[in-house]
């Protein structure tokens, strides 16, 4: 059932540019950015149980690194983006190492502090980074949205498949064990240090990749992408779509970002509505609204298929 569902989604995603152009295609591109961020964050927070508020900071690191490499060192864009992901992975390793002994709120606080320090640094060093105005970045494919979309889809599928493979392997089992009881896992042979670092490196690499992608399809990188509000958005998307499901979180991202567009009428109330949505989800469907809907759909399908023949 899940495979069928994923297959249908894939088909829709592939066909998307045929039906939607320009503005909505651009929305789709941004959805892919958020989908990558949300799914990787949900792996760290939901599957491994490490709530990090530094995720958008890693996207920012990927974005700025890629931007600099292209602007200052004339790197070809794909290479720069790869290096951006690498930079995020390395810093992710560093953060993981520094926070080895931390769980829960201590980890959340440290990663929050790191994210804010980075944002302040980028804003303050405006000779280097253009500060809050943002850095203009060359566009990939000269700005052709269709190519940009498919590249984004490719990156999304690539990262999701990689993360999924890890989660379904024995490593995934170890990560879940660590989430359930870190000391228990350690005394049963799980190298908690190594796997914790792995979780950070993997998810921050994905975030960095997403950031690099964003930089070159939007054309502007600014500290705005590292604001805590953005982190809140990722949190909202993952919670809404399902913290313990990569695809769920990705769908949550698509759903909420598209909702952003529809809610343009409400302009300033948008984010408050999102906030309310997240609180509602956390209270009534903590595993996520989408998984809950999926369960209802399954029940419905089952009843429909088992209906008595006339």
């Amino acid at each position: 059932m899940k495979r069928l569902f994923a297959g249908v989604l894939f088909a829709i995603a592939l066909a998307f540019p045929l039906f939607f152009k320009d503005y909505w295609l651009y929305v789709g591109i941004i959805c892919l950015y958020y989908a990558m961020l949300a799914s990787s964050w949900s792996m760290l927070a939901g599957q491994v149980g490490l709530i990090s508020f530094a995720h958008v900071a890693f996207a920012g690191i990927g974005a700025y690194t890629s931007a600099f490499l292209v602007i200052q060192a004339q790197f070809p864009i794909p290479l720069a983006v790869t290096f951006g992901a690498l930079a995020s992975a390395i810093i992710g390793l560093g953060i993981g190492a520094l926070t080895l002994r931390m769980r829960g709120p201590y980890l959340a606080l440290t990663t929050l502090a790191f994210s804010e320090i980075l944002r302040i640094f980028i804003t303050a060093e405006h000779q280097l980074t253009q500060g809050s105005i943002g850095l203009q970045v060359p566009l990939i494919f000269g700005g052709n949205k269709i190519y940009s979309y498919y590249i984004g889809l490719f990156l999304f599928i690539l990262t999701t498949v990689v993360l999924k493979l890890v989660l379904q392997s024995r490593v995934g089992l170890f990560l879940i064990a660590m989430r359930e009881d870190e000391d228990g896992a350690a005394t049963r042979g799980v190298n908690t240090v190594a796997f914790r670092l792995l979780a950070f490196v993997l998810t921050s690499a994905v975030a960095g990749l997403a950031g690099g992608y964003y930089a070159h399809v939007v054309g502007l990188v600014s500290p705005q992408m590292i604001r805590l509000g953005e982190m809140g958005l990722i949190l909202a998307m993952s919670v809404f779509g399902g913290l313990e499901s990569l695809l769920g979180a990705a769908l949550g991202a698509v759903a909420l970002h598209t909702l952003t567009e529809y809610l343009r009428i409400f302009a300033e109330w948008r984010l408050a509505i999102f906030g309310a949505l997240v609180l509602f989800t956390l209270k009534f469907a903590p595993q996520g609204i989408l998984p809950r809907l999926f369960i209802y759909a399954e029940i419905f399908m089952k009843r429909w298929m088992e209906r008595p023949e006339r």
């Binding site: 879940i176 009881d181 000391d183 005394t187 042979g189 799980v190």
Partner: protein, 240 residues
């Protein structure tokens, strides 16, 4: 001597949990680690199994130092540990709980791991709960599961922290028999427990801690009659 603990100290910001504790355990012995609450028994187990790093002193396994090694290395070296409050992986199934310790070793492939899990499940008599989620198990079943998990890699030394806690009498005597069986098959067992009847019944030697220090050690009879032990438990105000 398979396990040597030499002059181990552990301090928690002013609270001296262990002071200069030295004790050795022989291969194949069944020892009981006893003492009043707060005497440092669990802390000692934590130091041995790597969850704490002792401040001073050394711990040696078969003459190789294991002081300061991370817990997963110590488990792979053959020291398995259970906890006072069972540490099982709540949202995984019983069989997944069992597979994990074996999978970390990497010695067996998936089918062999599965086979061994089912074997152990039969031994601990939880085979009817193979696919149940661990959080749905009763307290006694969780203790059994934890024991099963530890046994997956066949460690030579078992550190058991209150294995009888909250277990009903029938299961308790089954457990006692099972532990004796494991001991007869060559496992060294160090048992921490407050269940004195069980301890006196199955342990060959008792090690008594009090306020983080080694008070005495010896056969169950001699420890039982030792005045110092009695006053340690009863607070020193009572005459026998």
């Amino acid at each position: 001597m398979i396990l040597d603990i030499n002059r181990v100290t552990k301090n928690f910001g002013g609270l001296q949990a262990l002071s200069d504790v030295s004790v050795s355990f022989a291969r194949g012995e069944f020892a009981g680690l006893v003492g009043p609450n707060g005497s440092g028994k669990t802390t000692l187990l934590n130091c041995i199994s790597g969850l704490y790093r002792s401040d001073t002193g050394s711990i040696r396994l078969k003459d190789k130092s294991i002081t300061g090694l991370p817990p997963h290395r110590i488990y792979r070296l053959g020291i398995g540990r259970t906890f006072q409050i069972s540490k099982v992986f709540n949202r995984l199934t019983v069989i997944d709980n069992l597979r994990i310790p074996a999978l970390t070793e990497g010695k067996l492939n998936r089918q062999e791991v599965r086979k061994r899990s089912l074997e152990i499940l039969k031994q601990i008599k939880l085979d009817h709960l193979t696919q149940s989620t661990a959080e749905n198990l009763s307290g006694g079943q969780r203790k059994l599961l934890e024991l099963g998990m530890v046994l997956m890699t066949d460690p030579q030394i078992l550190l058991l922290d209150e294995p009888f806690g909250g277990v009903h009498p029938e299961l308790k005597s089954e457990l006692e028999e099972y532990l004796c069986l494991l001991n007869r098959n060559g496992k060294t067992i160090i048992l921490v427990s407050h269940e004195m009847p069980s301890v006196f019944k199955i342990c060959q030697r008792l090690v008594v801690l009090d306020h983080g220090m080694l008070l005495t050690e010896g056969s169950p009879e001699s420890v039982r009659a030792d005045e110092r032990v009695i006053s340690a438990y009863l607070g020193g105000c009572y005459e026998t």
